[in-house]
Structures are given as structure tokens and as C-alpha cells.
Symmetry: D2
Subunit: 285 residues, 4 copies
């Protein structure tokens, strides 16, 4: 019996930072998770914790690092990941996951929380190399036309009819890997997000897969610093309601938005010659 | 043993409506709940359903009524409530609850879901009178300063220190009763919401109760068609992190956003001479 | 403009108590919410908090009272409610809401959390009288037969067919008012819960309303200390899947469990001569 | 730009099956997700769906297969996975994820839903080989003593004190890979679950990592058909409440159960000579 891959850390540290340098406050609202791997066999096998940096300490570190200001989430993640590995001989690899919650300014020190997708960042560092993945989750988009789904396989269990004009709605969960661990993170995020949204809006969709590929390609085209895009797109089905029993037509106007089940389309688009992913997507290969 | 107050209906009908009259589509996304009361003793006592309009029929009715367009949610609710009571001799009272989910336009037929509070409406009709309550739920607001909490009772269980400058954050759940069942619903909602938000932003708060009263009063001042405002404000605590163990100060910059427990402040503000609430807030008196 | 009904308090205090008097530990896991009403106009109108017992103090009080042991949740709620009103001249009424989370014993000091409904208690005290409501929430029950729904109203929006044999499933949310503020709470809860469950199981149901009335009546019959039962029963629809396209029959065997929309049946059953409810169900009349 | 790994399918098909062969009904309640991979480039690149089996068809297939009865979830998953790959030339690999929701019998055709962890199964089939992973999620366990955490690294951000006697609570998320795609699934699941629980209960824990390793090892020892166990254990922190301001001691009796942040311990335990994992854990290598 052997111990395999393992990691540990503090998850979902809720951190709110207010920059008060001027009367116009700046607000940053994050959920930060830390995961560390390294020379940790002893705590598993004997309970000897001499190599373990407590998860409570990890939490403290997140707050202490925030004192100097947060900046872009990728940079904040890099600073934390490098700190844990570089300061702790027993920690070989660190991964920092960040969610950034958006607020809209209402006044010099007033804000409203807005939900239109959540910016994410995942940074991994192994002592010599760092990988940065940026992303957006739960960005819900809808096209009310310009979407079809026809010409698919029909087998004995198929009852679905061709759809020439349907609603296409999804909650975009996208993450994109950067070529290097340095970039203009703010511009990169804004550009990638715009590319995703514009591709969704602009694609006359014959399948959600086609839209997915168009979205991933658009990010790669718009942002040369990005080498890989992974997308997970739930198909939020909107079913046309049959109103004929009530002697009404329904020319694509009244829909039932279903919860479950839902289609789930997942795919990756890579730049030609993308470097290997290394630890970008997970702490262990 | 006697049967007391009772009602039944179809809850959470998910309705999406697309107006396609022009190439620029209009999107309306609602969750509609129906509750009916009336001469319903028999189904309880003997299982005789002769007086019961099925909840499935209620759902169908919501979809059929949507075929003609939805308009403002208060008007849609009124139409449905009146239909059920006026068309069914056994139904004496109907209540329609609506949540409206916001989407931001991205193109002629493209939209992004946005979350910055949810508009609500609750309409009750008893065959002769209708009551309309509009509202907003989960509108999360924050002031990063201009909030204090001092001078409170100290008893043997009190450890809280005075706070001269704290974060004040809340998820606004507000509902306001209209004087009549006719109004310019769109303008009324927009005005009430603006009044709520501006009062939150503009109040130098000595307690969340004071902010609550300011918010309710602001709606009544701004909207003469409104006679009562009910507010439920969870206090989303943001605790200053103690960074002194790390030889850092923390002058109101680094906070821990707590989940539970939370303060919950609830209150009502009424216009002078507000008419009785009748069935505005519940199906049964 | 006038201030109407209002209350405030600390919600969702998570309290876990371990009795270690013997090597066989006893575990109690509660979520406790406090709401207070009284002479609170000043904090609303001027921000003067001289009459306000902080919600932080309320939380402290919950923990401090737990030190002496918890016992039955109704008794714990009564002690807290009486404390707040009797010790604070400015507090006229207190309401304590408790949820009790179940754990199953695995060993002398080991437990597994089990979910089969949550026991609840709501206690209100106004300085002279106390009201106690016990309950259970989210107790999910299903009968796979012995349920029908026929003979209902058919209007132009009705498409539902008679169902002679359907699945009946619901998440029981029930609360029952006690005649007095003293009872054998443990026996009362156990008996009421058994009565609810047995009535659900034993009723050959012609409508969920009939089952509701049977459940409420059963509690009143079994427990003379109970004078009113309120039930809220979502109808968790299970739709028979049409397998005929696949040349298969489906004699009541394969179902789709739908999320939304759902029927919602609510009703009250009262003992003959039940005393007035007073503040049992809400802090304000 | 190139298309990388991709898959698609229908997620969260809610399937309830009632076996009515005898008056004592048997109930099976599942949430089933299908994911397929294969020759799917065209739908991504051009929107040609000729190779796409619709997710709607996948849903239909789940229901149709259920008509013959479900049996153990691993076997049901294997049948579905093999069907999709063997019947569709364009589908190379299928993965079926199943969650089984527990109900307790109350009578011949009556049941109560119980939550004490959820049984899971994940089956992958690539046309020649099948991998089966069984598991349990959200099994919440607690030891009220016999847990310590001492002797850890102290760095400048460490404030945590040694804990000699603390509460240890976690929500077990465990999955274990089978050596072969044939086994007595019911006995295997029951045995693995018992091993997990008994190891949690029986380990005098010096760290949650030690408990994790003990749990994984126990499964491998008890079930020779299992070759790998993966565990993800959130540390549900219970903090001792400081009651000294109220002149009360707190000898391990009154705790605050925190929501976030939480420690998260993840690890793998492998049998000596475990065969390679292949596609057991993911559709793509």
C-alpha cells in the first residue's frame, strides 16, 4: 500500500480589501483557496506534522499579503504561490485559486454587488516554473435566434426533431492558460472576456460545440499571450411551450426554462505549438 | 377538529418570453408562482376535487397568458389573479408572486444575465379588490465608511466594542405596497429602487436600523403611490482582520467577510394615513 | 410617515454542544436565530442605540446559555426568550428559532450526520406569555401507489388527465402550536412526527390536500397538548416517462423527478376550541 | 489553432424507478450523467452534426434502459456506457456518472428520503476496456475527541496553537477504483463504506491527513478488488467558544461550527502494484 498524490490547504478564504488612499475607495472582493503539495508523507503515515504549514497559517498569509494591496488576481496568486514554496523547504508546489466578485461603484465609498460572471485565476508554482490560468465562470449568455440543431444521428432512442431556430443559452465556464507567467493581466482578462462574448453573440450556431470552438478560437486570436482555452458549457434548455390546446400559436415566443437535465458541452482549443501544460491545470501531473 | 386557512397553487413556473415583432428581440425572464384560496374544504376532508383547479392548469394559464405579451410584472400578475378568481366560482382569492430576472442586451437578439437584485411583484385579488406589492430582493449594497455602531446596551454578555468606522453591507430585501392597483409600474419600480439605493448610499449610518428607516422613508417620499415599505436587511458582517501578530497595522483595509451568523434587521415604514393592508401581504388575514 | 412593526436579532448562530460528563459523549447540533422587538424607535429615527442589545451580545448569550447544557430545543428556546425580555427593559418580545441537525451515534464519541427532516422549534415570549411551536422541515416522503387525482375542474386551460395511480412525494414542512409552554417536548415531538409520517403512509390519497388534512388531524389526535398544525407540502412531481417510442410499456415503473414548477399545498388544522394564536406564529400581530 | 480534448453529454438525468413486481415495491432514485467522446471534430469546426448522438437521445436511453430494472449502479453504468460506444461508430468513449439517493422503507410502498452520504459510481468504457470507480460523497462524520494537531511548522504568519483535543469533523468524499469491471458491487460498496467509517471512528488522529491515509488503507485492506482510493476531506472546523468573559469555563463543550474558510485535505492511497488508471478518473488521459 502506498501514498499517492496528495495536497492540502485552506479553501474559500473570504477576503475583502478596501483601498482608502483617497476619498474614492477602491474595493476588491475575493474568495481565495490555497493548496500545497510536497514532502508530506509523514503526516499521512505517522501523524508527524513537522513538515506541515497549518492551513490556518495559510489563511493568515492571505490576509497579511493583502495588506500591501491586491492588484490583479493573477499577480496576487503568483505572490502567494511563490511565497509558500520559496519560504517552506517542505512545500514543493503551491496552487492558488481566486474568484473575484464584482461590485459596481455607486459613490466614493459605495458599491452594489453585480453578478455577470465571476473572474477567476489559478496559479501554480513548483519552485522553478509558474503557470497562470485566467478564467470566467457562470457568465450566462443567451441568443434568442441564430441557433439551430439539425442533421444529427437518429437511433432507436431518438425522438428529438430538427430545430431550425431555437434559443441558445449557456453559463460560460472558461479558463485559459497563459504562455508565460507575466502579462498585462487586466488587459488580457478584458480582452479574453470580450472575445468570448463576441464570439457567442456573433456565431450563427449549428451546434453548441460549434459555438464553443468559435469562443475558444476567438480568445486565442485576440490574445497571443494565451495558448489554451478550456470551456465547459451547460446547455440551458429553453423548450417552446405547446399552446395549441389553448388555440394559440407559439412562433418562438413563449418558453419553459428547464433546470435539469441539461446538455453539457466541454472542449479545449489550443494554439498551434502550445507548450506543454505542465502543472497549469492540476497540482499533480 | 377544523380546517383552517389553506391555499394551493403552482410554484416557480419558469417562463421566458421573447418578443420578436422586430429584429431587435425583447426578452422577459420570470419565475411565477400562483396560490389560490376558496371553497376548498371538500378536497381536504373527503378528497372530492370538484372545486379544485389543478395546479397543472394554473401553469398552463401562465404560459397561455404570456402569449399576448407580458409587460410589467405587476400588470401580468393582476391579469392572472383576476382570471383565476373571476373565471372560477370556487376560487375566492388568488395571489401571484413574480420574480423578474435581469438580462443586459448584447445585440439585437443577444443577452447576458445580470444579477444586481431581482425585481419582484406580489398581487392579491379577492374578487372585488386587488392589492399590489412591488419589491426587490438580494440587492447587495456596501458602504466602506460612514457607518458606526456605538452607545448600545452593555450587559454581562456584551463583548462588542464601539465601532466608529465600519463596513456596512447588506442584501436588500424590500417590498412596498401600492395605494391602488393602478400605477405606472415601470416608473414606480425604477423610482423606488433608486430611492432605496440613494438612501443607503447617502445615509451616514449610526445603526443599520437607521439606514433601514431612511430607505423606507425615501421610497415613501419619492413615490406617493406607495403607502408602506417593508424591509429585511441582513447585516453582512465584515470583520477587520487583526494583523498585529504579523507586525502590520490594518487601518480599515483588510476584512474577513463572514457567512454566519449575521444580524437581521426588519422593519416597516408607513405613510401617514396608509389604508389598511387587507390581503396585500398574505392570502389570509 | 411612521415606523411600523420592526424587530432585529442575530440569525443562524451555529452551535455545537458536546456533553462529556461520561466517556459516551452526547452531541447537540443547532442553528439558533434570535429576533427581538420592543422600544426601538430611537435607533430607527435618530441612530441612538441606547435601547439596543447588540446582535453580537445575543450570539454570546446563546453560547453562554449552552454551557449549562441544552436539553430539548423548546426548553432552550424558552430560556433564551425569557432571558432577553426579562433582563432588558427595552425588549418587549423575543422570538427564538431553532433547527436541530441530527447525528447518528457510531461510537462513544463518534457520529454521522443524518438527514431525514430537521426538527425545529420557535418560541415567542412577550414578558407575560410564552408560545411554543414545534415542527419538522424537509422531511421527504413518498408513496409509490395509493395516490390518485381525479374529478377536478376542467377549464379551457386544462390538459391534465385523471391519474388513478400516481407517485405522491412531498417534503413535509410542518409546525404545530402547543396549548401551553410546558410539555414533555421530546415525547411530544416524537409522537407528532410519528403521527405525521403514519398519516402520510396510511392515507389512500385522493389529493395532496386530503393527505395534508389527514396529517394535521393525526397530530391533533395523537397529541392533546397540540392545538394547531400548519403544513406546507410541495408536490414533488414524478412524471411517468413515455417509453412507447422505444416500443416499451411503462406500467408505473420509470419516472422523471421534476425540479420546477411544483404544486404547493398549504393548510392549517385546528383543534376545536383552540385558544387564540397570539404571537405564536410571528413577533407582531 | 487545434481542437483538443472534448466531450459532451446529458447531465443530471433524474430517474426514479419503482419495481412493482410484488406488493412490496422497490425504489431506486438516481441522478445520471452521460459524457461521450469520439470523432466529433466536425460539429466543432463546421457545425456538421452527422456524428452527434443528441443529448436528448442519451436521456431517452437512460430511461429506456431503466425499464428492464436498474440493479447496482455500477452495472447500470456499465450497460449504458457499453451501449453508447458499441452502438455508435462515432463514439469512442463513454462515461456514466451516477448518484444514488437513499430512501428508508416505511411500508410496502412508502419511503422516507434519508441523507447519510450519497453513493456514487463512475464508469468509463473505450470500446475495449471498462473502468469502474465507486464512491460516496458528503458523508459527514465527527469525532468529538481523540483528535489532535500539534508539532507543525511555525513561521511568521503562524498564530495557531497546538490542539491536544479537538473536534474532528469532515464531509467524506471518497472514490475507489476497481481492479476489474466485474465485482459484487453491493457487497463491495457496503464493505468499502464500512471500512471508511470504521477507520475514521477508530483512528486516534494526529492530523486529518493521518485519518485520510487510514481511511484509504482500510478500504484497500478490506476490499481486494479495489486498487486505488481517492479522498477529499474538508475539515469542518469547530472552534471552542471563549466563555471566559462571562466567567464560564469551556472544557471542550461549546463550539462554533464555521462555514468558511475550511481546510481541505486530498490524497490518494494505492495498492501495491495497482494497474495503471487508464481512463478511470477522466475521459481523456
Amino acid at each position: 500500500m502506498v501514498l499517492g498524490a496528495n495536497n492540502y490547504g485552506k479553501a474559500e478564504v473570504r477576503l475583502v480589501h478596501v483601498r482608502r488612499a483617497t476619498p474614492t475607495h477602491e474595493l476588491t472582493d475575493l474568495t481565495v483557496s490555497v493548496a500545497l503539495a510536497g514532502d508530506l508523507a509523514e503526516t499521512h503515515l505517522t501523524g508527524d506534522n513537522a513538515n506541515v504549514l497549518p492551513t490556518d497559517t495559510q489563511k493568515n498569509t492571505v490576509y497579511a499579503f493583502a495588506r500591501a494591496g491586491i492588484g490583479e488576481v493573477e499577480a496576487f496568486g503568483l505572490a502567494l504561490a511563490r511565497h509558500f514554496v520559496d519560504s517552506q523547504p517542505t512545500i514543493g508546489t503551491a496552487r492558488i485559486d481566486v474568484e473575484q466578485h464584482d461590485w459596481r461603484r455607486l459613490g466614493p465609498h459605495s458599491f452594489a454587488r453585480v453578478g455577470e460572471g465571476t473572474r477567476t485565476a489559478a496559479v501554480t508554482y513548483d519552485g522553478s516554473q509558474a503557470w497562470v490560468v485566467s478564467g470566467v465562470s457562470d457568465l450566462v449568455l443567451m441568443n434568442t435566434t441564430d441557433s439551430a440543431f439539425t442533421g444529427f444521428i437518429r437511433d432507436p432512442y431518438t425522438t428529438l426533431a430538427d430545430a431550425d431556430d431555437r434559443i441558445l443559452a449557456t453559463a460560460v465556464n472558461a479558463a485559459w492558460r497563459h504562455r508565460r507567467s507575466e502579462a498585462d493581466w487586466a488587459a488580457s482578462y478584458a480582452g479574453a472576456r470580450t472575445a468570448l462574448t463576441e464570439a457567442f453573440v456573433g456565431t450563427r450556431s449549428l451546434s453548441l460545440q460549434q459555438t464553443l470552438y468559435a469562443m475558444g478560437s476567438a480568445v486565442l486570436e485576440a490574445r497571443p499571450e494565451v495558448v489554451e482555452v478550456r470551456l465547459s458549457l451547460p446547455n440551458r434548455h429553453h423548450f417552446l411551450v405547446d399552446l395549441t390546446p389553448f388555440e394559440l400559436d407559439n412562433p418562438g415566443e413563449v418558453f419553459y426554462a428547464a433546470d435539469r437535465p441539461y446538455g453539457l458541452i466541454e472542449g479545449t482549443v489550443l494554439a498551434d505549438g502550445a507548450p506543454p501544460a505542465g502543472l497549469a491545470w492540476a497540482l499533480a501531473r
